[in-house]
């Protein structure tokens, strides 16, 4: 499917949303990160965590902000603040 993106979830987000990854069909040619989060948040209350300011995201392995553009073929990830080291 040409309008597909790959979404990954990590750590506590993967557990609360009960998935590590999914293919997601974009309804438009492109959208920004905030629009994607809002669309996913309509799936149910547990998905509203994506709109929490503490939730981080990346697009194609680079940290994203709400304005970051997402296009078909991109890899998007959502995760909680990091705790390595």
């Amino acid at each position: 499917m040409k309008n597909e993106i790959n979404i990954l979830y990590f750590a506590s987000l993967a557990e609360s949303l009960n998935r590590d990854d999914e293919k997601f069909e974009l309804k438009s040619e492109s959208l920004n990160s905030l629009q994607l989060k809002k669309e996913l948040a309509t799936r149910g209350q547990e998905w509203e965590v994506l709109l929490d300011p503490s939730t981080r995201s990346s697009v194609n392995l680079v940290i994203a902000n709400d304005d970051t553009e997402i296009k078909p073929g991109d890899e998007v990830a959502f995760f909680p603040p990091v705790t390595g080291g």
């Binding site: 990590f10 392995l61 909680p80 990091v82 705790t83 390595g84 080291g85």
Partner: protein, 143 residues
Amino acid sequence: MITIQEHDFDVAHEYQNLLQKNVTGGVVIFSGLVRDFSEHHDHLTIQHYPNMTEKVLEKIEAEAHQRWPLLETRIIHRVGKLSVNDQIVFVGVSSAHRKAAFLACEYMIDILKTQAPFWKKEGGEWVEAKDSDNDVADAWLTK
């Protein structure tokens, strides 16, 4: 050089690799260990985001080389299941003079802790990020 691995690392071996004959004046190494964090659990699990982790660590290393005159740098971070007293992370720096090595080593571990996509789970609980870690990283990034 950066490495993400499940197996342990040997500090003495890594130290030797940081030395450059006749030019190294000092080496600073940081090694992070698993503390005894709970009465109920004796292990933790570290998850990461493959590919992004490598990219972030390489950027941290490159940025350190831009900020200070360094010879060698080394970052190792373990993932998977670890027990109390296990080594988790190694950051090593060599330079001609000690000051650059001290600063770069502290910089790299401080930024790693807030930017590299690793997550610790202690027993059944995900560890929460600390504001104090963000503060020290922010202090570097505004310098």
